[in-house]
Structure formats: structure tokens, C-alpha cells
């Protein structure tokens, strides 16, 4: 069996080259965000990244913690594809917002459902699809329109990534993953997309220890696994009510 376990986050991101496209899970707080992979990438220092994520980091919602905003602060990003790229408060603009305003970072803003569908399409070998979302708005600019059943739809292209940083709860040694609650969000979809998917997990168990019926991400999508050993520097409460 292939060994997919990396002993450190630094080792797991070490080969990421300048100019790579990286997807990362992120939605409404630290729960499903691959915190340690992001910080390892900051230490690694790769430049000219394209980041595909729900936000551009540092949006100031709920728990304030150092998410992928650190990659912008560290000037590693040249482009971001996101649905919610700006901070919620004008008083606290994010690093990304400043860099976008200054023309240092390019932004492609995408409706959130279109974003995950474009990521799934890339994973599924679907190069493009039509969706009603965005017709006759700024999102429609330059996009082909076609009518289906009396409804105008936009042609949206698949997204592809070199790497995906995934936050999951538990992995077996083959890379089969399960998540906790709303950790899922973009993670299972991005995990299927990237050429090299790296999972950050709380636990690594033997193959066969996860019930095959409850696996969310099949191991064949996951190339690298790293276990979190440090305590996070943001509050994390573990309720058992919906735990696998």
C-alpha cells in the first residue's frame, strides 16, 4: 500500500511550486479550514499563487483567526477566485481587499453555488455547464447565453487545481475521509478536484476502521495526509451529538 502519511505539514507542502493553483476549504469560521496547511505554505513562501476558496481570508466573521489571509499578507497570491472576497466591515478591510484595490491581486468573483459547481465540474470531467444564476448581472459579462425552457442561462467553465488543502476529521491510511458537521462545506468537492489533494485531520486510523458506508471522500482522491498534533490557537468546542 502506498504511504500517504506525511509527518509534518511543512513536508506535505514542500514541493508546491510558484504559480500553483490551490483550492482550500473555508466557510464561516475555522471549522473546515485547513489551518496548518495554510501556515505551512506561508512558511514555505511559494509566490504567484492562484487561490480558489469561498473567501479571500480575513473577512472578520465570527471567530477572528489567521486563515488564508496570511498568504495575502505574505504577498504570495497573484489571483483569487472567490464568492465572498471582502471583509464584512469597512473599518477592517482584509489584506486581499487592499491588494485587489491596489491592482496587486486579480479577483474573479463567482456566485457561491456556481463556484462549488465549477469545482465539481472540474473534478467530474465536465468542462462547462449552463446555469441560470447570474444572467443579466455583472456575472454575465463575456459569458455565452443560451435559453433552456424559456430561461436564459450562462455557460460556466470548470475550475481545476494543482493542489487542494482539505480539512477533515478522520482519515484512514488509504486516505478515506470523514468530516465533522459543517466541516464538509467545500472540502469534499475540492478533494475530488485537485491533482494533489492534501488532507489535514485530527485522527489517522488503520484501513478498515471507518465503516465503508459512512466514508464521504474516497481515498483515491487523497494523495497526502497529515495529522494535527498542536492545539489550535482559536476556540474549538467538541460536542459529541453528531460525531461519527
Amino acid at each position: 500500500m502506498l504511504n500517504k502519511i506525511f509527518s509534518t505539514f511543512d513536508a506535505a507542502v514542500q514541493d508546491i511550486p510558484d504559480g500553483a493553483t490551490i483550492m482550500l476549504g473555508n466557510f464561516a469560521g475555522p471549522g473546515g479550514t485547513p489551518y496548518y496547511l495554510i501556515h505551512a505554505l506561508k512558511r514555505q513562501g511559494t509566490k504567484n499563487l492562484t487561490i480558489i476558496a469561498n473567501t479571500a481570508g480575513g473577512i472578520g466573521l465570527t471567530v477572528d483567526y489567521a486563515d488564508h489571509r496570511v498568504l495575502f499578507e505574505n504577498k504570495q497570491v497573484k489571483k483569487v477566485i472567490a464568492s465572498f472576497p471582502f471583509a464584512t466591515s469597512a473599518r477592517n478591510p482584509s489584506a486581499a481587499e487592499k491588494q485587489i484595490a491596489a491592482g496587486e491581486v486579480a479577483l474573479e468573483i463567482v456566485p457561491q453555488g456556481t463556484l462549488s459547481e465549477r469545482i465539481r465540474a472540474g473534478a467530474a470531467g465536465i468542462p462547462a455547464f449552463y446555469t441560470p444564476t447570474g444572467y443579466d448581472t455583472v456575472i454575465a459579462k463575456g459569458k455565452e447565453v443560451k435559453w433552456f425552457g424559456g430561461k436564459p442561462c450562462l455557460l460556466e467553465n470548470a475550475l481545476y487545481a494543482d493542489y487542494a488543502f482539505i480539512r477533515a476529521y478522520k482519515a484512514d491510511k488509504m486516505g478515506n475521509l470523514v468530516y465533522r458537521g459543517t466541516q464538509r462545506q467545500f472540502n469534499p468537492v475540492m478533494a475530488m478536484n485537485a491533482r494533489i489533494t492534501i488532507a489535514e485531520v485530527d485522527e489517522i486510523v488503520e484501513v478498515g476502521e471507518i465503516d465503508p458506508e459512512v466514508i464521504v471522500t474516497p481515498g483515491l482522491f487523497v494523495k497526502r495526509i497529515v495529522k494535527v498534533t498542536e492545539k489550535p490557537d482559536f476556540p474549538r468546542h467538541l460536542e459529541t451529538s453528531f460525531r461519527v
Partner: protein, 225 residues
């Protein structure tokens, strides 16, 4: 100046729209309040964009230490309580539900609404930038789009306008507008005034609404029951 209804009253009025078993997505702001006022006997299934369906109430400030869990939040980052029958899905499936017409209602805030039901609510006022988030997908695809909003801006300008002046979230998407002074239905013929807040006249409402209002033959006072 006449009295306007509270945010809670707007929320209470919107909650009346739901039917038993309805799948409902609530935006941030007034919409979030709606969940507190759903009538007894109406069991609503809440949908959140991040991929949780059928969850319980938002965790209150008092319960925070005992119950807040970073792995159990809604799209606004609020902590949730569990509820029997809830389930978790990935983000693409959460929006399969939205785009596929499996969500019955969404309640959204508004910056501007036009007489044709165009909605503008994503550009951040005064910053020239905006967060589309899931609002565009919801506005385009949910079966019934309800806007919860103050009737006018802070400086008294109409929010219900002839033509939206800021970037649209979606054209012709709003079905019902519930404000602090009126309930207005968007119809193919125009905006139909259905209900007014206590003490307000049709003329007074029309005076701070740009498009011409069609007065419903069943026009009545704001109805909460």
C-alpha cells in the same frame, strides 16, 4: 413621523408565509430573526449554504460555552443547536438544493428593489466592492424570494425604486416585500400593496415608494395571525 414596525414584527409577518415541511433559507440580518416566530404546528426545515439542513435554533449568548462548536455553524458563522433529523451535505449538494428548486423560501435583505422585482443587495455600500456569496444563487433559484427590509434608507430615501442604481443580485426575482410599513407583492402587472402598518395610509406609503403601487382589493392592516 409615523411609527414603524420593529424588525421583530417584520420577521413575525414573514414567518406567517411558511407552510408545514417548507424548506427555508434565511439570510443575515432581519431574515435570521424569522426563525423565532414560526407558528406552532408549522415544522420548517432550515437550509444553510454551507451544507446543513434541518438544524435547530442558533446558540444564544448564554449557551455559548456549553454548546458552541466551530464544526456546527450556519453560513453566517452562528453556532447551531442540533435537531433530530438534520443532516450534513457538501457545498455542491447544498446548492444543488438551491438551484434545483428544492428550497421553498429564501428571506433576503435588500439595498434596493425595483418595481419589477429586481433585487440589489450585494455591493457593500460606499466601498465599491461587494460579496456575492450565496445570495445570487438564492435570488435566482429559490421558489419564493421574500425581501425583509426597512421601507426607506436611513436618510429617508425609497429603497423600493423604479430602477435599481447599484449592481443587481438578480433581475425579476422578488416575490414578496415585507417592510416596516407595508407588505407588497410583486406581480407581472407591478407592485401590489396588500397590507399596511397600523396608522399608515396608502398615500403615505406611496409617497416613499418610487414605483406606482396597485392597491389590492383585499388591502388590510398588517396581519400577524
Amino acid at each position: 413621523m409615523k411609527e414603524r414596525l420593529s424588525r421583530e414584527t417584520i420577521a413575525m409577518r414573514i414567518a406567517k408565509e411558511f407552510f408545514d415541511g417548507a424548506v427555508v433559507n434565511l439570510g443575515i440580518g432581519i431574515p435570521t430573526l424569522v426563525s423565532s416566530f414560526v407558528p406552532e404546528g408549522i415544522d420548517v426545515i432550515y437550509h444553510s449554504e454551507n451544507g446543513v439542513v434541518g438544524f435547530g435554533p442558533v446558540v444564544t449568548a448564554d449557551e455559548m460555552t456549553a454548546k458552541a462548536d466551530v464544526d456546527f455553524v450556519n453560513a453566517g458563522g452562528q453556532y447551531l443547536s442540533p435537531k433530530a433529523g438534520m443532516c450534513f451535505v457538501n457545498h455542491a449538494d447544498a446548492f444543488l438544493m438551491v438551484r434545483g428548486g428544492h428550497v421553498d423560501f429564501t428571506v433576503l435583505g435588500a439595498i434596493e428593489i425595483s418595481g419589477k422585482g429586481d433585487l440589489a443587495n450585494w455591493m457593500l455600500p460606499g466601498r465599491g466592492v461587494g460579496n456575492i456569496g450565496g445570495g445570487m444563487d438564492l435570488a435566482f433559484n429559490v421558489k419564493r424570494v421574500i425581501c425583509a427590509t426597512e421601507h426607506t434608507t436611513r436618510d429617508g430615501k425609497p429603497k423600493i425604486v423604479k430602477q435599481c442604481s447599484v449592481a443587481l443580485t438578480a433581475p425579476k426575482c422578488v416575490n414578496l416585500i415585507v417592510t416596516d410599513i407595508a407588505v407588497i407583492e410583486v406581480t407581472p402587472k407591478g407592485l401590489r400593496l396588500k397590507e399596511y402598518a397600523p396608522g399608515w395610509t396608502v398615500d403615505e406609503i406611496q409617497a416613499i415608494t418610487e414605483p406606482e403601487l396597485i392597491v389590492s382589493p383585499e388591502l388590510k392592516e398588517y396581519s400577524l395571525f
